[in-house]
């Protein structure tokens, strides 16, 4: 048995990483296509605020972060959809408010800096059995949500006015997508870390967009890229003693670079055939 599989914490990290690698781009595709990627950054900082509050009040940080991210997602969606603020401004307001609250709470409470670091940068040691159960439960919800509403979410990303005229409940699905995104971000923090969790919603989708054509093929390629990045990154993290989040995201970036090279090579080959 490889050394990496001889440790319970590593098996938990690999299962958690694979779930994160699949879940994040599964929702991220609809966010990237709507040019709404900043929401991942916003909700990860809201989740950080939840973590800080959880630690300061000695409540379970995963649950307080989950609650905070859900409320943050609803606020951003309400501000944006009601036209009170442009989408990017609404997200900026929520992001900086949450970050400021987190900084203030952290400055009041002392003694949890080590734990906080594991949330900021991710730690393969910190994935608990509870985190795994929560991730598995969330995975079931996301699979059902995306499986049932895939075409509706794609229609909204295509053009929300057209989706409305097609009878798609745009507001309700946008809200559900935002809340689930908040939950995925929160539960991914243990593996990837607050600072880099947003990348897992975006970078694998960019890989999918480069290599695949068609919605379903792009979706499949994106979650494959996410899962490969998470597992390869965790393995690298274990053997090379790297921070888990950084190793996972750098692997995803490497896949993106390789995808771009592959696309350029295909173009060059097609041009050569055309010349002949």
């Amino acid at each position: 048995m490889p050394a990496i599989l001889q440790y319970d914490f590593m098996i938990r990290a690999l299962i958690g990483g694979a779930l994160v690698g699949i879940l994040a781009p599964a929702l991220g595709m609809f966010i990237v296509l709507r040019r709404f990627s900043l929401i991942a950054e916003t909700l990860s900082h809201v989740a950080l605020m939840g973590v800080a509050i959880g630690m300061a009040t000695r409540t379970m940080p995963s649950l307080t972060a989950l609650g905070a991210a859900s409320v943050g997602a609803i606020i951003v969606e309400q501000l944006r959809s009601r036209g009170r603020l442009p989408g990017d401004v609404a997200m900026a307001v929520v992001l900086y408010t949450a970050l400021a609250v987190a900084v203030v709470v952290i400055s009041f409470a002392e003694g949890f800096n080590v734990d906080l670091f594991s949330f900021l940068f991710g730690s393969i040691l910190s994935v608990s059995p509870l985190d795994l159960w929560l991730l598995a439960g969330l995975a079931a919800v996301v699979v059902v949500f995306v499986g049932v509403f895939f075409v509706d979410l794609a229609q909204i990303a295509f053009d929300d006015d057209l989706a409305r005229v097609n009878g798609v409940p745009v507001g309700a699905l946008n809200l559900a997508l935002a809340v689930l995104t908040g939950a995925v971000i929160t539960l991914s923090m243990r593996v990837v870390g607050v600072l880099l969790v947003g990348a897992m919603l975006v970078v694998p989708v960019l890989v999918g967009l480069r290599v695949a054509k068609g919605l379903r093929a792009t979706f499949a390629a994106s979650i494959a890229a996410g899962a490969i990045s998470a597992i390869a990154g965790l393995v690298a993290s274990f053997y090379l003693d790297l921070a888990a989040g950084g190793a996972i995201v750098l692997t995803a970036i490497l896949l993106l670079v390789l995808a771009n090279i592959w696309v350029q090579l295909r173009k060059a080959a097609a041009a050569a055939v055309h010349k002949v």
Partner: protein, 265 residues
């Protein structure tokens, strides 16, 4: 019933397909639509003309329930648009879709297939996109040859025809188009209008079209509605004078309106 079968153009209880009644709309403090009352009857080809900022597109968005009027009411097939659920009867072609700019991965076939759904489409991820109705809609706009391409790989004119196919695959009774010929060259424009003309004349499809192309609208439409926040003129194209057009646009407009151009009507 597929696209190329006849369209049963049933109006609402009062016979009109679409009706704005004393409709007013404000964007913040700016008045965009001022007390507009207008009816579109079944089988009509109504062109909405007017300068930039005259409220044309707003009028369309109010008709489709995308915007809610500040005052007055809008009825689709005799029902208040706020409570209207029968969206399969309506096809919409916007001027531009946000997806075009984001390199949206959907193929042309997928894009058109999505138009066939009415309301939510549970588990449609597992349905084939290349179906007879989808191919028939693409055939109607002569776009079958690009069915496997991404929308963002097509020219603007081709994109508009794909969006038209997406609206037609629903077999709608009312087709609403917002400046569909904007940015399209002359030949693309002619192809588009030929399709619309056939759909209106041969299939009885009711069309409402917003346009800046005065010449084409005077040639193609059965009714013109001139907007400048309020409705300043409504009637058949031949009743519209050059002086009225000049007043609408604020500069001399020499519109050639000749009966020979209306031969197809």
């Amino acid at each position: 019933m597929l696209l190329l079968s006849g369209v049963a153009a049933n109006g609402g209880v009062n016979g009109s397909v679409l009706e704005w009644e004393r409709v007013t709309f404000h964007y913040g403090v700016g008045l965009a639509v001022d007390d507009v009352s207008l009816r579109v009857e079944a089988g009509e080809f109504a062109a909405v003309l007017g300068p930039n900022g005259s409220g044309k597109s707003t009028l369309i968005k109010l008709a489709l329930g995308i915007l809610r009027p500040t005052g007055g009411s809008v009825r689709l097939f005799g029902q208040e648009v706020g409570g209207f659920n029968d969206w399969g009867r309506v096809g919409y072609v916007p001027q531009v879709v946000s997806a075009v700019w984001s390199g949206f991965p959907a193929t042309v076939t997928e894009t058109v297939a999505h138009g066939a759904y009415r309301g939510t489409a549970p588990l449609a991820i597992f349905r084939r996109s290349e179906r007879p109705d989808v191919l028939e809609a693409l055939e109607a706009v002569s776009m079958t040859h690009v069915k496997s391409k991404r929308l963002s790989e097509l020219s603007l004119g081709q994109q508009q025809r794909v969006l038209l196919a997406r609206a037609l695959v629903r077999n709608p009774e009312l087709l609403v188009l917002d400046e569909p010929a904007a940015g399209i060259d002359v030949s693309g424009e002619e192809q588009l209008y030929t399709v619309l003309r056939d759909l209106n004349r041969d299939r009885g499809l009711t069309i409402v079209l917003v346009s800046h192309d005065i010449g084409a609208m005077l040639r193609e439409a059965s009714t013109v509605c001139c907007m400048n926040c309020s409705l300043v003129k409504h009637g058949p194209p031949h009743e519209l004078t050059s002086d009225e057009l000049a007043a609408l646009y604020g500069l001399p407009v020499d519109a050639l309106i000749h009966d020979a151009l209306h031969e197809h009507r």
